[in-house]
Symmetry: C2
Subunit: 274 residues, 2 copies
């Protein structure tokens, strides 16, 4: 089974592309809605929450977990990967994030080597996209902008109202001035606004869709790692777990996925043992 | 010691008035910042989080706890009070909320018996102000409006920018149309916007300051309950606890309290035993 971990609903924009591109596998989505959003929390809090999520998904039989949440990916993915690599028993368990695929794609398509990054405060402060991009090509210039109001605007359905659009424009002004040619949407909620981002930034700016990029990267990973791929169950099962109210999860989830979600279950992830 | 529990920083607007009006007592403030905000969470989540906070404060020697968070006050105060009343050992421990004092004050000052309530989604859905007001006077008409974007706007410092003000205006439009004569600020973050609320609603609408109301009510409570009052320590001690980063707590807390906060400590409240 493939696990998708997110602080809340945002990761569904990634899962949606997995289901389109790689529908044959079993998926288990876990949203830590009772403690979302992670974007303004401390490193320590994000680490302990993400660790609980990962452990829970492994305990339920996931072999490969994608941390869809940019905040968790940028703050604690490496630490969690190292912890799991150190334990000899768990070489058949893998954790992947979303930063690397997005950085690689952007480094490939940039024309003027001026890349913008938008995300939550925690993601921007962790500078993971900066590090990843510069290790791929040290001549790339990175311009980052944290946009803490975009997640609540999307979740409340205000992002397309005039006020939401004005706020988005204000956030993007410095990136427009910096003349970036590529923009990384470093938060799983932002793809809902991809049209607005494209309109405001203009046609000359490349804005890859995170779900498409991460899904292409997963496809590629599975081809390169048949030893992992063959461990994955393929019954087209879909399981949705949340740490808060499953009714509200279905409500928002249906809207995000444009479908009728089934198998939504409330779980307590704070008590799994390694 | 008097405990003040809140999901995050908002309760500091209440504590600030306690310190002004009743400075002689020892206070312990606990902000559950690692899981804030509570405003969109399920009843079950709010209950278990608030219960952990209450238990922690009692375990640290608090005799009287004020749940400053409207979401927790409106969703779970009564349940928690009943739980503690049922246990014979803890008759010297009291829990108070913010709904009742605000409702009583508003019922007293309303001129046309048309009262508006603004708050988070959870507070508005719980209808606690409605029930409280109608039990005080069944002829009072209550008009509620949830304003889920106001907390992030205040926390990000955008509430006074034109976009923030436009959003506030949009939220208040139905209450203006309903011709309310009194408006209850049912969320501890809103007092930061009290001038904007007053300006938009107009001079004919009464908007009591929640901190002032709750603090007057606490003063009155202590006069009526000398058996509780005499148990409270009076060394002017101030302790600040947070479940997330104390550095960030100090940053925001200093801004909220307009002072230099000391004694800020990070705590884990998930492991207290009753």
């Amino acid at each position: 089974m493939i696990g998708v971990f997110d602080s809340g609903y945002g990761g569904l924009t990634i899962l949606k592309e997995f289901l389109r591109e790689l529908p044959e596998y079993d998926y288990m989505y876990l949203g830590d809605n009772a403690r979302a959003p992670y974007g303004n929390r401390s490193h320590e809090a994000v680490k302990s929450f993400a660790e609980e999520g990962i452990q829970y998904l492994f305990s339920k039989g996931c072999i490969l977990i994608i941390i869809a949440c940019n905040t968790a990916s940028s703050q604690v993915l490496r630490e969690l990967q190292e912890e799991y690599l150190r334990t000899p028993k768990v070489t058949d368990r893998k954790i992947l994030g979303v930063i690397k695929p997005l950085a690689e794609k952007s480094a490939k398509i940039t024309t003027k080597k001026r890349i913008g990054v938008v995300g939550t405060r925690a993601t921007v402060q962790a500078k993971s996209y900066d590090h990843e991009l510069q290790s791929l090509d040290p001549t790339i210039q990175v311009y980052s902008q944290d946009c803490p109001l975009l997640v609540p605007l999307v979740e409340e359905g205000w992002s397309h109202k005039p006020e939401g659009r004005m706020i988005l424009k204000k956030y993007l002004r410095p990136l427009k001035s910096a003349n970036v040619d590529t923009l990384i949407l470093g938060c799983t909620h932002y793809p809902f606004l991809i049209k607005d981002f494209r309109q405001i930034m203009g046609k000359s700016v490349n804005i890859p869709h995170p779900g498409e990029v991460v899904s292409a990267s997963l496809k590629d990973y599975l081809q390169r790692h048949p030893e992992i791929e063959q461990l994955l169950s393929k019954k087209e099962g879909r399981h949705f777990l949340t740490t808060d109210d499953p009714v509200r999860f279905k409500e928002v989830g249906d809207r995000f996925m444009k479908t009728d979600l089934k198998n939504i279950q409330k779980v307590d992830i704070t008590k799994t043992t390694k």
